[in-house]
Point group: C2
Chain length 143, copies 2
């Protein structure tokens, strides 16, 4: 995690962007979070940060491949560090409270899935970038 900063700086530089204090703050908040926070949660965690800057920075960090936007059925998006910084995983999404947390599948099943999806993609001229597998339901606290 100590070279999260180095990595982020490098990727931003590659994209012609600077690694500023605000961006560092966003990444640290994400790295420290138990669960992917929404924008309101990020704003609450960093009251000093202007909303417009947060929106702009999340967009920049997403384009640079450092953070990833999770879209749930919840009203706002949530953000996490990119998969290559945290490892491939999936999300358990609670439709009642909107909470998101992570789980993984066996590498065997994951590989099989990857093969099947590769076939689906090539069959249709689709260029796959990755997949998204979420478990949707009600978390322990909400049921």
């Amino acid at each position: 995690m100590s070279d999260l900063h180095g990595l982020a700086a490098a990727r931003l530089r590659a994209d012609g962007q600077r690694y500023t204090a605000n961006r560092r703050a966003v990444l640290e908040t994400l790295a420290a979070a138990e669960r992917p926070p929404s924008i309101p949660q990020l704003l609450a965690a960093r009251p000093d940060l202007a909303a417009s800057s947060l929106y702009r920075n999340l967009a920049v960090l997403e384009r640079a491949g450092i953070v990833h936007r999770i879209v749930t059925n919840d009203e706002f998006a949530r953000f996490e560090l990119a998969e290559d910084l945290t490892g491939h995983h999936h999300h358990r999404i609670c439709t009642t409270c909107g909470a998101v947390d992570d789980f993984t599948l066996s590498t065997r099943l994951e590989a099989e899935l990857e093969r099947a999806l590769g076939r689906v993609a090539s069959r249709s001229g689709f260029k796959a970038n990755g997949h998204r597998l979420d478990l949707v339901g009600t978390c322990a606290r909400c049921s």
Copy 2:
């Protein structure tokens, strides 16, 4: 598809709702669509339909289990008929143009996935409602 209307009427009635001309129109547009339309697309297809009614009706139809809201990384939600009317399937999502279309997996892989996800859910006290598996990338037209 002819008893889409009968089914919809029944489910709405069960929810204390009426099956009106607007709701019929929305379902017919969804049934006729090649790909899940967004709200702007639905409005364009039905210029006579007030935006507020469309929003209200989509919410009603979703609660009654007749339509399903698909959330992509795209800016607006897309809608399709519920899975029990069309069969279980997954989505190929183009991150460039936002288009969504369907694919299916072998029943074998699907069953295996279901088992694995069942284990993941029970292990954490999560009550699974279903899963969502999407292939994310660039469609043939956009690449």
